[in-house]
């Protein structure tokens, strides 16, 4: 068979429009990630188990303690956005291990020999992580509703929560990608993943307010991206919930964090093969 379509073509080089190029490539990557997710959605449901335990067991018990000042809302309502943020963190932090796996299979080699911009490869993962996060959020809304927590059902608030969750997922998946590029092996990643997630969770405002933390922990919490995610969600998700910084500044800070992390990840991604 001879087909003109197979003949080599010394590319008539058209300098691509960088923005259009990154857009096309990012969604090409996100597209295949999401196809894989829908083909095997079990992971989405197993990831819902942990937040259920936190809300149903931990939350119910700690509601009786009444030792934690949560303003005029119940402890359970206070911690619900925190648990949503936690599930976003825990799901996204394992993106890196998937990338190491793809490196071992040669999939990363193929992406890197393509003329795609390296930032697109990073953003494609972030977009698909964002989508997963949104699915998590929907599940946690349902659990919270079932537990009788007063939720702000107005579309604008739900939209704000989903946007925050998508951005938070993008941040933590990109952070995870950076760690993968540094440690390069699955075994080391597993170790570091465990060591990082718990401190990020406890050194945040997820299950207690920053105000009651000792001074040094306050400092840690303030540089912890999870704090800004929780704060943004707390103001939007539940009736009577208060955001310390306000949604706009939380969201702005998260965008800045994401820009820095994706720039770093785009630099490091090719080193995954070294």
């Amino acid at each position: 068979m001879t087909s003109a379509r197979l003949a080599p073509q010394p590319a008539a080089w058209v300098e691509p429009n960088a923005v259009a190029q990154v857009w096309r490539e990012t969604f090409a990557i996100a597209n295949v990630e999401l196809r894989k997710l829908f083909r095997d959605p079990t992971e989405l449901f197993t990831r819902a188990i942990q937040p259920v335990l936190w809300l149903v067991v931990f939350g119910q018990v700690f509601s009786r303690v009444r030792g934690i000042p949560t303003g005029n809302i119940s402890y359970l309502a206070f911690m619900t956005p925190g648990i949503l943020a936690q599930s976003v963190l825990f799901a996204a932090i394992f993106y890196g291990i998937a990338v190491i796996w793809e490196r071992d299979l040669g999939i990363v080699h193929k992406l890197l020999v393509s003329p795609a911009k390296r930032i697109s490869l990073v953003l494609g993962k972030a977009v698909s992580a964002g989508f997963r996060g949104v699915v998590q959020a929907v599940i946690i809304y349902l659990i919270a509703a079932a537990l009788g927590i007063a939720i702000r059902w107005q579309p604008v608030h739900i939209f704000a929560v989903l946007a925050g969750v998508a951005l938070g997922s993008a941040i933590f998946s990109t952070f995870s990608l950076i760690i993968a590029c540094i440690v390069k092996s699955r075994e080391r990643f597993m170790g570091i993943g465990q060591v990082l997630t718990m401190p990020l969770f406890f050194a945040s405002n997820a299950i207690y307010p920053i105000a009651i933390m000792p001074g040094w922990l306050k400092v840690v919490a303030l540089v912890n991206p999870l704090t800004y995610l929780v704060d943004a969600l707390r103001g939007q998700m539940i009736v009577g919930g208060e955001s310390v910084h306000g949604f706009a500044s939380d969201f702005g800070i998260m965008i800045l964090i994401f820009i820095v992390l994706s720039a770093v990840a785009a630099r490091l991604y090719p080193t995954l093969l070294r």
Partner: protein, 278 residues
């Protein structure tokens, strides 16, 4: 503007599809590729032989822009691998040593991802995918998940993927490793056709002396990062005597030792992939 004009004149002047100049890669103290000088004319099937750890994959990874050289330089399709990596990438196709198509996607989805990443215009994507699948004899399997493919089918899919954007140069790292004889011959036939009909330049590495003998126009035998012997298969054999085989040539120029450090990682990866797919 100036830079673009300058590289454009290079493509006209480039006589060779691949040209390396003292190309070197060091991993710590180890010189995996050691001042390699090598030229591959357009339209040739060029074979890179050598024992495990000789530096074949490392050479390919540098030529495909996956690794930066420690020193030296190289041009592929007229473009400098360090100065113009994006243009090198647009001009080449690459099939890595391990089976690397994404098993969780269908054949068509794998190809569609490549079509998008290589900026093939939307209207041309489907026809080209159909053509590439037909050329590789995979038309009826396009909608099946790749994890249900045999090793030979995956290799053919990877070749389809690597040529979808009509590259000038194809880099194939042990393309027939682990394939049965029929699958191997199918791959050879397709590669010959690509060369014959379209003049594509192909650089392959192999441990299979039959493949080197039958498929390649010219061979370079690498040893410890350097070229120990270079020539057409017939020349290399004749150089050792009338009854010599390529195995003799290989033994003679690789110090008789098949094991030379070895690239544990790639072997392990090939195994992992094989067991995943098997």
């Amino acid at each position: 503007m100036m830079a673009a004009a300058k590289t454009d004149s290079l493509i006209e002047r480039a006589e060779f599809a691949i040209e390396t100049d003292a190309l070197t890669k060091a991993f710590g103290d180890l010189l995996a590729v050691d001042h390699l000088n090598c030229r591959v004319p357009y339209g040739q099937i060029f074979g890179l032989l050598g024992p495990n750890g000789a530096g074949k994959s490392t050479t390919i990874k540098m030529l495909t822009t996956l690794l930066d050289p420690t020193s030296g330089s190289a041009k592929v399709a007229g473009f400098d691998i360090v100065a113009a990596p994006a243009r090198v990438r647009s001009s080449i196709g690459y099939v890595p040593q391990m089976l690397s198509a994404d098993g969780a996607l269908t054949g068509e989805e794998n190809l569609m991802l490549s079509a998008k990443l290589y900026a093939i215009p939307r209207a041309e994507r489907q026809p080209r995918i159909a053509d590439a699948l037909e050329f590789m004899g995979l038309t009826e399997f396009g909608r099946r998940l790749v994890k249900t493919y045999s090793g030979g089918m995956i290799r053919r899919l990877e070749l389809a993927q690597a040529m979808l954007h009509r590259p000038m140069v194809l880099f194939l790292d042990e393309p027939t490793i682990g394939l049965d004889p029929v699958a191997r011959h199918t791959v050879w036939d397709r590669l010959r056709e690509l060369r014959q009909n379209y003049g594509i330049t192909i650089l392959i590495t192999t441990h299979d002396m039959d493949e080197a003998d039958e498929l390649c126009d010219e061979l370079a035998l690498m040893h410890r990062g350097q070229i120990a012997a270079l020539g057409q298969p017939a020349e290399l054999k004749a150089g050792l005597g009338p009854a010599a085989t390529l195995d003799d040539v290989f033994a003679r120029f690789s110090g008789g030792s098949i094991q030379e450090g070895g690239s544990y990682r790639d072997i392990r990866q090939t195994r992992t992939t094989a067991s995943r797919l098997g």
